[in-house]
Subunit: 332 residues, 2 copies
DNA sequence: CTGTTAGCGCATTCAG
DNA sequence: CTGAATGCGCTAACAG
């Protein structure tokens, strides 16, 4: 008969006529308790609806069974899937997840991470735009910590998609389709994955002297993509590589309004393979970032840290090129 | 100079040459401390990088500054926006958010809610499919709790969108466009919002004797929508009201593949107005559920409970009809 | 096998 | 105004 006021271990001990320790032992499955006694305690506990106060437990044990996830934007589909993968995996291991949405406030990421870390056993940090130096300085104080989508770090596990490989596949894809003058919607500056994308572009330019890439500034969302339409048209390209799927979809929509046919007149590719990418018209060619897997692996890494297993591993997954209808041969 | 091992209040007290209580008072802004002394304590605290252990604080104060959000599926865009609105609002008030994704396991919702409740100050419960009786039985033990997207409850605040109103607007919309034989992709059974949608449909049937509604079973996601295409075609209707935007988008995609033109041959409407709804081809007519606002209001309600202000209010928001390109006049 | 003691880190009486 | 106790609820030595 659970009442609103939770029973404490003291009450259980009292009504069962035993000491605190005995109750504690029984509740924690300590086998050094007389079977009959244990049974009686269990009955009383059940009757009173008792279960240990996790807070008190955390304080004495020094662990909370909770990890924090710091993400820049809960609205970003990529982080959503990472969060989901992580949440499920952690939950399967009996861990809870505290979320901290930094609302893109790069300046407050460190503070937030530190604050949430104090009430958890570790933090999974997604901070794509935090300067590398700041990150390196922050990590030690956060330990145990695993970093998502950043280059391998000194002494902290890292889980990341290789945005360079993904972008390389996309450039090669449009190059193979005959495109030679290609626009790149560059997204926001200062992001780690942005740098990786760009390096793939640079390599492509080296590998293919007849390739031209016109870089166009943009944001990271729909509206940015739509807003880039004029610049794209002015650039006189036959293909566009967007920073991500959102940007690509915005552009797709905006050029559609202008009567441009995709992919006949213009090829457009995104990045991420968010769930909606396959439902645009035409469906979006993109590089699939395995968010769910990244989330799971981030948890694996955290779990390993928590259990004192192998320390700083850095796992990298290659995005998979997904060719759909939004890219096609260069118009003749 | 913050080190990995956090300073405790005892250490601060010792190095400042004062008692625990004094440090505690200073850290909590208690003004009954000599200014000079307080300043010295603050300096030492800063030097040692001290700040109170939230766990210990929670244990003694009886509050965690954390609330739990229980949602059925982190992948569901509607809950995503609710979560986001809630998270931002709570964060602004200095509260943390623990997420519990029940992974659509209705049977475990109660357990999970109870478990997370114990380590937080309250829970925001999104459990669209939990039987009303179970819900009513569960709520008292969760208090303080606010319920999202369910009918008003006995003694717990409720924040909800009025799915009946939204659906009523959509039916009326297609009726006004001349459609008389309409399909309804019914989503999953047993959801509270599903019942609300259906009642709107019933009312429409009563109001318009010449209206026919063909109900077709479906799920709640893209694939369900796509999978319903054959059934929709067989139903020989001129308009379809989908359970939500995801279903509508799946259907849109599938009928597109079959050469059906939307809206010339078939009108399709969704529900929710998820961010992607405006970027389908054609853009989706839908009823906009204000997820962000619902999330914020859920937090307001929780905040009120936490501060002992007004108790069981139930706020309801009407979805807004958003007419885009996926619905049009009945084909002649 | 069981009970008594101490203490996790802190806020808060209560004396002085 | 400040310090010395008390206890939040629990687990983990430590005795018996």
């Amino acid at each position: 008969m659970a009442r609103s006021a939770r029973a404490t271990i003291t009450q259980v001990a009292r009504t069962a006529g035993v000491s605190l320790s005995t109750v504690s032992r029984v509740m924690n499955g300590n086998p050094t308790v007389d079977a009959a006694l244990a049974e009686r305690v269990r009955e009383v506990a059940a009757e009173l609806g008792y279960s240990a106060n996790p807070l008190a437990r955390s304080l004495v044990l020094g662990r909370t069974q909770t990890v924090a996830v710091v993400i820049p934007d809960l609205a970003n589909p990529t982080f959503q899937s990472i969060l989901r993968g992580l949440s499920r995996a952690a939950s399967d291991d009996g861990f809870h997840v505290l979320i901290a949405d930094t609302a893109e406030q790069v300046a407050e990421e460190a503070t937030l991470a530190t604050a949430t870390r104090r009430r958890t056993d570790g933090v999974i940090l997604c901070a794509p735009r935090m300067p590398a130096d700041d990150l390196a300085a922050l990590l030690p104080s956060l330990s145990p910590v695993v970093v998502v989508n950043r280059p391998p770090q000194e002494a902290t596990p890292t889980v990341a998609a290789d945005y360079r490989v993904g972008m390389a596949q996309l450039v090669q894809h449009v190059y193979d389709l005959g495109h030679r003058r290609v626009a790149y919607l560059a997204g926001v500056v200062g992001s780690a994955s942005g740098a990786a994308r760009r390096s793939a572009l640079d390599e492509a330019l080296t590998a293919h002297p007849d390739l031209e890439i016109i870089e166009i500034a943009s944001g990271v969302d729909f509206d940015s993509g739509a807003g880039s339409a004029d610049a794209v048209m002015a650039a006189d390209v036959t293909a566009v590589l967007a920073f991500n799927d959102l940007v690509a979809m915005g552009l797709l929509s905006a050029v559609g309004d202008r009567g441009i046919r995709v992919p006949e007149d213009l090829s457009i590719a995104g990045f991420d393979d968010i769930p909606f990418a396959r439902y645009t018209t035409p469906p979006l060619t993109t590089a699939a970032v395995p968010g769910l897997e990244l989330g799971q692996e981030a948890w694996q890494a955290m779990s390993a840290l928590l259990e004192g297993r192998d320390a700083a591993t850095s796992t990298v997954r290659d995005p998979a090129l997904v060719v759909r209808g939004s890219t096609g041969p260069r118009p003749s």
